[in-house]
Symmetry: C2
Subunit: 431 residues, 2 copies
């Protein structure tokens, strides 16, 4: 064991810093922070170097390296073939001799495999769950081999640290981007690419699988599709299936993309992409992933006024809050691909635990111990999803627990404030 | 007094019928009902003839007639001029000799002046608040003269019973539709058109003003802009100003319209209108005005399955729930105008009680007694809006009351199930 700040001290500093980051800074800095934090690889945690400077100990820097896993011929759940699949992955900690200490982290909708650490000590920010993954943290990399993989059809196709295969990839059979000829994918397909990676590493069983949001869907799919290979499941701000409400809510994100005249039925890779449509989708996602409390705090900082003079005089002008939302979404859109968003929405819409016809059939398969961590103020995957799944599992006498993440960040509590349940997660993993 | 079914019996039947209408019928009929009920002039109430058949008494049919109010030169809040304004209005009950029994009903975003009754006994449905407006109902037309007016820029420009002036109207100065040259309007402007009508009828003071949703904004504007002319205010599923969250949430509805290639900066009146964009906006409105519980009940009826075969095989196909939502929204879009939606969104975004710079300044003006009826499950104008306004008024020692509408219809509880608070409203009006 290396010399560390104590975990409690670390969390205290993290909490203080996060609070500072989100509430005390200037609007511009807060806005930049929110989007960098919420929607990039480099979400959530405070620069470890800052913490190291504040602490009397020196905190070791978790460094990660992007690697590539290739699958020559991948067959999708719906029976189609994708040749030459390449997906990025990274890991933290060491695989033990009997390969029994692997924890898989599955990422959220706009996320990537960069769950923790930095690529270089000089990186401004760390992976999105860095507050719970690392030496002596809730998911302790002194004990566990933590692995994470870029999804199929990952949104961030222009991020240099993301390696994905999706509609923006070149179809080797034609030499052109797939566009909408890319097969529809499901959570099972994401799971199967992860399974292929784990098998290549000789890992037969996961000590645990954990993920937020869309990552929760993958984690639940693991535990229900391959119950013998999952010992523990942590579902954060998640859902065990896409109900009618969620299926309709997700569809909203696809609509502005399809209405954008540059979308061209997905054939935009050699012309102008549907940036306005993608930007709109990201505006919708941002709002539903947050809460009135959060927006109204931003409103205070922006001096939001219903009677702002520009929108009062000009039907084409926007209120400051909408300029703020638009500009940040547009910045995020630069790294992303619109068709990939359509594919990820569809994968979420198609999700049912174990890809069965009903929830009970899927959940019955589960043998893993499970922990559900919904966010009480979540407006995207509302906490009823996790509460109902927990209830179903309890009725089946499965070993399951639930705890709610409190706070005013809504869905994003499960990404930005996951460390609030560090102790819950650590205890669950120690069982 | 005429011979009626008792009020309690009437409400009992209404409740039973509404429950039947919303929960027991076939999917197709339920869907048709929802949209007819929720978004047309002919919302909510059960055919009075059905009730009459079921009761031993005969219930008189409230019949209304559309009339027109003209304003030769209307000056908007932002200082612009609109010539030859024409707006439809209707009334129920009789104005008394001293003109002290007038109650103004202000309509919601997608609504019209058809608040109660029918135009002809053979009409399939009645006005949207028919369950509380009529002889011996909560707003008793045996006692009160109830009046309601089509808004400026009313959405339903192709409805033969709607008379409005807005961006789809012909600008008399050019002979062409205004499009985006129509001035930006505010709640104050809607109120001022209503004030003009009331003055033409010799009414100097309102016994009460009441409205749901956008109608609540108009009602609050009345009570804060013209406090001497309003004795009672009933705000249903409403808000006293548009906060940053609401301003951003409303903006979402405008985005698909502006992305539709047929929108053409609002110049579509002589070509193809932006129907897909308008349909998308109505899909968004429908979802946020309802709840997961409601959608998931529809999902049960539609046999919603995440793994439906068409969306599993085809990225361009939709789940049944989304076909359902799309088809009904598209039907509604046929009567509506896309630019008018942009103007109504802007009017809501610009709303602050009394059109002051802050809420306290506006609310301080109020002398009316007030009653707030938010819906507990409302996801559009969440109940915190009404709760906070009530709290502010209490702190100012104003005479104010609050009661919440319980139920699983979210925002639409305030339209479809307003009769749940018939007794509250009747008691408030009797004070």
């Amino acid at each position: 064991m290396q010399n560390h700040v104590s975990k409690s001290r670390l969390l205290q500093i993290l909490g203080k810093r996060l609070n500072f980051a989100l509430h005390q800074q200037s609007v511009a800095r807060k806005a930049a922070l929110l989007f960098v934090l919420a929607f990039s690889l480099t979400v959530i945690s405070i620069s470890r170097s800052v913490i190291a400077q504040e602490s009397s100990d020196t905190q070791p820097q978790l460094l990660s390296q992007k690697q590539v896993h290739s699958i020559a011929d991948f067959t999708t759940f719906n029976g189609q073939s994708i040749k030459e699949v390449k997906l990025g992955w990274e890991s933290y900690g060491e695989l033990n001799a009997d390969k029994s200490n692997a924890i898989l982290i599955t990422h959220y909708f706009t996320g990537t495999s960069h769950a923790a650490g930095k690529y270089a000590a000089s990186d401004a920010t760390s992976g999105y769950w860095d507050s719970i993954i690392g030496p002596n943290k809730a998911i302790d990399t002194n004990k566990f081999f933590v692995v994470s993989m870029d999804s199929l059809a990952n949104l961030n196709v222009k991020d240099k640290n993301v390696i994905t295969t999706g509609p923006a990839s070149i179809n080797p059979a034609t030499g052109n981007p797939y566009g909408l000829t890319f097969p529809v994918i499901t959570m099972r397909d994401m799971v199967n690419t992860q399974k292929s990676l784990l098998e290549s590493l000789g890992i037969q069983k996961l000590y645990a699988v954990a993920g937020p949001s869309m990552g929760s869907m993958q984690a639940i799919e693991w535990a229900t599709a391959y119950p013998d290979q999952v010992e523990r499941l942590i579902s954060v701000i998640g859902s065990s299936f896409s109900d009618a409400w969620t299926t309709a809510a997700l569809e909203q994100w696809t609509i502005p993309i399809k209405l954008d005249q540059y979308w061209q039925q997905g054939n935009y890779y050699k012309s102008q992409p549907p940036t306005e449509g993608l930007t709109a989708a990201l505006m919708f996602i941002t709002q539903v992933a947050l809460t009135p409390d959060y927006f109204n705090q931003v409103g205070v900082d922006l001096k939001h006024q219903p009677l702002e003079s520009k929108p009062l005089m000009d039907i084409q002008a926007r209120h400051g809050i909408n300029d703020w939302l638009y500009n940040r979404a547009k910045g995020r859109a630069e790294n992303m691909d619109a068709n990939s968003l359509l594919y990820l929405v569809r994968a979420c819409q198609l999700f049912m635990a174990g890809q069965k016809q009903d929830l009970r059939t899927g959940l019955k398969q589960m043998t893993a111990k499970s922990l559900f961590l919904p966010a009480t103020t979540d407006l995207l995957l509302m906490p009823y999803n996790a509460r109902n799944t927990y209830k179903e599992l309890k009725e089946m006498n499965k070993d399951t627990k639930i705890a709610e993440i409190q706070g005013h960040l809504g869905h994003l509590e499960g990404v930005l404030n996951i460390h609030k349940h560090s102790a819950t997660i650590a205890a669950f993993l120690a069982e």
